[in-house]
């Protein structure tokens, strides 16, 4: 079936399907296939009309969306983050909002009973949430569940999924096990599932509230959340950390931590020189914060490691070096000058950020044909957003605009080059 059941607005599945424009005829055809499977164990079997009607009635009365929540090659940190969500809590998700029929961490059944729960749910329309990457090397031997490869498990669960959420850096991009040399050939969900939109809830792990909100969003709204170029929901990933960071005034004023635990650190100054990846990282950490709004990484004195960004273990390491692996924009060189706290030189730093992100976004957008991220400070092609940048804000804006235009050109060139190389692998550069 090819319809999309994006929201759960009505009390029962039948009403939701009707709302989504699924005809009774299509629904009965679907049920007929299911009945055939139940009856004969094969899709080719023919079910009788009464059986089909009975199943249709049963399915129509389903009152909560069924969910398959897979855990593939991963560390369970994402499920732990869900347990910590203070937004829609895990108990609300599991007991009241959804019927989570398969999740290995919390489900009662094991072995055959678990596999049966999975198979049964897979046959019906369901929401699919995936934690973890898919190791494709050597025939998939590096992660098997119930004797099947992670890739098979994912494909079977995706077939009748109405919505697919890839949750966590592993499911989105492969994360730590995909970093060089990627011994198991780990990839993210959207490298396997190409015929459906995958909502990428990135982060290592994502903030618990963001995960549960991504699920709850589907129940509240008619459509899935709007996505950025990387497939991330804009409700959480429309801002760079740098742009919403409460330490931003210290960056602009050139007040930097020079050594951990120095006077600047105790005063909460900017961690840019300690390697903070906030300027290149789209994440709501400073906005939503972590664990019931208790703190967040930069707030607790550690530079951002950029865990919501693609290949951060390779592109952003060494973590304590100033924005590594970003070539050609002179950001390392400008960092030392920025430290002088001269407003004019700060502008140069901002220009560098603009160039970096413009390149990133331009290539990503082309690749994904998706909604563009909300124009953020310095984005190419967008009018720079008003940001306080000291008494000389006008000249800064002018410089930014010019740099953005140049960066966009560079991006076009880079894009042309990278398209020629084919799909981006784990080691691919953007």
């Amino acid at each position: 079936m090819s319809y999309r059941m994006d929201g759960w607005q009505e009390p029962t599945l039948g009403e939701n399907l009707a709302r989504a424009g699924v005809s009774r005829r299509d629904f009965l055809a679907f049920c007929g296939a299911l009945t055939a499977i139940f009856a004969t164990g094969a899709v080719s079997g023919k079910a009788n009309a009464a059986e089909v009607e009975a199943l249709a009635a049963e399915l129509s009365a389903v009152t909560k969306p069924n969910v398959v929540w897979l855990q593939l090659q991963e560390c369970t940190g994402c499920m732990e983050s869900v347990l910590r969500s203070g937004g829609t809590t895990v108990e609300e998700v599991v007991l009241n909002l959804l019927s989570v029929n398969y999740n290995e961490l919390v489900m009662a059944a094991a072995g055959e009973a678990a596999n049966t729960a999975l198979d049964e749910t897979n046959k019906e329309p369901h929401i699919l949430v995936v934690n973890g990457s898919v190791p494709r090397a050597d025939g998939g031997i590096y992660c098997t569940i119930g004797g099947k490869t992670a890739e098979t498990v994912l494909k079977e669960a995706a077939e009748h999924a109405t919505v697919i959420l890839a949750v966590g850096a592993c499911a989105v991009w492969g994360s730590v096990q995909a970093s060089k040399p990627n011994p198991t050939g780990a990839v993210g969900v959207d490298q396997i599932i190409k015929n459906k939109t995958v909502i990428n809830v990135s982060g290592c792990p994502p903030i618990g509230e963001v995960i549960t909100a991504a699920v709850a969003y589907l129940l509240t709204h008619d459509d899935p959340p709007k996505l950025d170029a990387e497939g991330r929901p804009l409700f959480a990933f429309d801002q760079r950390i740098h742009d919403s960071c409460p330490k931003r005034p210290h960056f602009d004023a050139g007040q930097y931590v020079r050594t951990f635990d120095d006077e600047g650190a105790r005063n909460g100054w900017c961690l840019y020189e300690m390697g903070c990846k906030g300027p290149s990282t789209f994440s709501p950490c400073p906005i939503f914060q972590w664990n019931l709004h208790t703190s967040w990484p930069i707030g607790a004195g550690h530079p951002c490691i950029g865990c919501t960004e693609k290949d951060f273990y390779d592109r952003f390491t060494p973590f304590y070096h100033v924005l590594p692996n970003v070539e050609g924009f002179g950001i390392e060189a400008s960092a030392e000058k920025l430290g002088w706290g001269l407003v004019g030189v700060t502008a140069a730093g901002v220009v560098a950020h603009a160039g970096v992100t413009a390149l990133r976004n331009a290539t990503a957008r082309k690749a994904h044909h998706e909604d563009e991220p909300l124009a953020a400070f310095g984005d190419a092609g967008a009018e720079p957003v008003e940001v306080y940048s000291g008494p000389q804000s006008k000249p800064v804006k002018a410089v930014v605009a010019q740099a953005a235009a140049e960066a966009a050109e560079a991006a076009e060139a880079a894009e042309a080059a990278s398209t020629a190389e084919g799909p981006t692998g784990p080691e691919g550069k953007e």
Binding site: K64, C75, N101, A109, Q177, G301
Partner: protein, 587 residues
């Protein structure tokens, strides 16, 4: 005649574990513990900046989050000679201590309880009786109210009536060995939900210092979070007040909810003190949370938890504690999909090598009996998990090992708690080596940890703060230029599931060699060259008496495996010391 059974996936654990069993007349005769995930993280950290490595290896596991990071930074600090300020060490102890309590609570209520608690049956309970039951077992938890029990009963009833059982789908609810009355099941489900709320709250201890949880941030040489009583941007009285509250609520929950519940389960299922005995050897370097690097006899980096010295117990002989010698640890690959250059031998972690050599069947392999697909146990190698041995013996690590070591070493609080529990339950010390014993030991240990957090670690931290000690970072060894050209270090940490060690060699400022020996590796590994089974296998098939009444509803082996609190992502890790890329040889 022997029948074969596969349980895959084992659920309510971290990661991917599969069991293949043979049963005969309702008893398990053979068992194979099979880890079916491999990620190769240690290969990935080679040639990286040693200061970054904690952030990679931390992602070995998100359940025992932070413990690999602490082991990593301690090993690197040991190698480069960094002296971590005492306050940073106490902060790490608080993060580790709160994590351990959270981990044990999650394990008991969310991963293990459904082996004993019939959640569906709670729908039939009288809420008033549930309150009475709680009182009867000595639970003084504030959630034991008629209103709360009614609310929870209605929630469960709505789920059962709807026919959409969510996470309870496919549970063995009609299994005859669920023994609790409906009111006890209802109380347990209510506490299951309360525990979720509890852990969300108390885990914030780690968030204050590490900025997020799971996967808080750490730092080689100390901590990144600054403390200063007179600065708003540093940890000050505002956070101290919060932590005091969370430390208090932690102790309250453990004493008034967790421990009484664990004792009640242990009482009702007391025959499980005679089921699931595993290898009678135990290894621990101290109480939960103990951290040390270097020579255990002259440790230069020790945590606040020094009350119990490292030690080893053989053959359930609790009267003799042998000194712990890290050089006696070896890892075997007899049953694991790797090869050693020297053949089927044991290698110490500092000389560990791993070349992937997969010889198992190409997936899919059997997921259910009679599906006609191959079994892993038909071959000599059947797992990704190596088999560590100490002095040639398989060892139990974890709460059971720590509690028994502490008891043998005369640790007073441990002795008192264990003796009281043993008297109440009518068991002997050696019966702690059992399915229910491991579950009881975890509760006992959790109480000790919650008490240490409340009465030692946190007050010590505050006292030092009061005296003006606000340093949290040793900057003298931050720059790689300050390190020796080549150096090695290791650290041992007692984490939720047992003894964890990380081993690092640094050359020219980069990681040359990295190895982790992880609790679940100790426990989940398979057979060695001497044919000795790993502890999981021994607990199921050690004496041929482990029950399994109905192969379609393998509740009994799940109880035993869950009593170890498996963490499979932790268990499998790989280092190629020669620096060559891994080669997979696929049969």
């Amino acid at each position: 005649m022997a029948e074969r059974l596969v349980i895959d996936p084992i659920t309510r654990i971290e990661g991917h574990l599969r069991l293949e069993l043979e049963t005969d007349g309702g008893k398990i005769s053979k068992a194979w513990s099979e880890t079916t995930q491999f990620r190769g993280i240690e290969t990935i950290v080679k040639d990286r900046d040693p200061r970054d490595v904690w952030a990679f290896v931390q992602r070995i596991c998100g359940v025992c989050t932070g413990v690999h990071a602490i082991a990593s930074i301690s090993a690197v600090e040991d190698a480069i000679g960094s002296n971590v300020p005492e306050q940073a060490r106490l902060i790490r102890d608080m993060v580790l201590g709160s994590q351990e309590v959270q981990d044990h609570v999650i394990h008991f209520y969310h991963l293990h309880a459904l082996d004993f608690v019939n959640a569906a049956n709670a729908a039939d309970a009288d809420p008033a009786k549930a309150v009475e039951f709680a009182e009867a077992i000595g639970s003084h938890w504030r959630g034991n109210t008629l209103q709360r029990m009614t609310e929870v009963r209605d929630t469960v009833k709505a789920i059962v009536d709807s026919g959409q059982l969510s996470v309870f789908t496919g549970g063995y609810w009609d299994h005859p060995d669920y023994r609790l009355p409906p009111e006890a099941n209802l109380m347990a489900v209510a506490h299951y939900l309360d525990a979720l709320e509890f852990q969300r709250s108390m885990i914030r201890i780690g968030t204050v210092f590490g900025g997020k949880n799971p996967h808080p941030n750490f730092l080689v040489g100390g901590m990144a979070c600054t403390i200063d009583p007179n600065k708003s941007e540093s940890i000050n009285q505002v956070q101290i007040d919060q932590i005091q509250q969370w430390v208090d609520e932690t102790y309250d929950f453990v004493v008034n909810c967790y421990v009484p519940d664990a004792m009640a389960i242990a009482g009702v299922y007391s025959d499980y003190f005679d089921i699931g005995a595993s290898t009678p050897n135990y290894l621990a370097v101290g109480l939960s949370g103990a951290v040390f690097s270097g020579n255990p006899a002259e440790s230069r980096a020790t945590s606040a938890h020094t009350a119990v010295a490292p030690g080893v117990i053989y053959d359930d002989d609790f009267g003799t504690v042998h000194p712990f010698d890290p050089a006696k640890i070896e890892e075997w690959i007899t049953s694991a999909w790797y090869t050693y250059e020297g053949g089927d031998i044991g290698l110490t972690p500092d000389k560990g090598e791993t070349t992937v050599a997969y010889t198992g069947p190409q997936p899919p392999y059997t997921g259910a009996p009679n599906d006609g697909l191959p079994w892993l146990a038909d071959q000599e190698k059947y797992t990704w998990c190596k088999a560590p041995r100490y002095d040639g013996r398989p060892m139990q690590v974890g709460p059971v090992a720590r509690v028994l070591l502490a008891y043998a070493r005369g640790h007073e609080l441990t002795k008192q708690l264990v003796d009281d529990a043993a008297a109440t339950l009518g068991i002997t010390l050696s019966q702690i080596n059992s399915t229910m014993g491991r579950t009881l030991a975890r509760a006992v240990e959790c109480l000790i940890s919650a008490k240490a957090l409340k009465e030692e670690t946190f007050p010590n931290f505050v006292a030092r703060l009061r005296s003006g000690d606000i340093d949290v970072f040793d900057s003298t060894r931050w720059e790689p230029s300050s390190w020796p050209a080549e150096c090695s270090g290791y650290s041992f940490v007692e984490v939720a599931r047992g003894n964890l060690s990380h081993w690092v060699t640094i050359k020219g400022g980069k990681v040359e060699r990295y190895q982790a020996v992880v609790p679940t590796t100790w426990l989940a590994g398979g057979r060695d060259a001497q044919g000795q089974q790993g502890p999981y296998e021994e607990s199921l098939a050690g004496n041929g008496q482990h029950p399994l009444v109905d192969a379609a509803k393998p509740l009994e082996p799940l109880r035993t495996i869950h009593s170890f609190d498996p963490c499979m992502s932790c268990a499998v890790h790989v280092l190629d010391p020669s620096g060559e890329e891994l080669q997979a040889v696929v049969a």
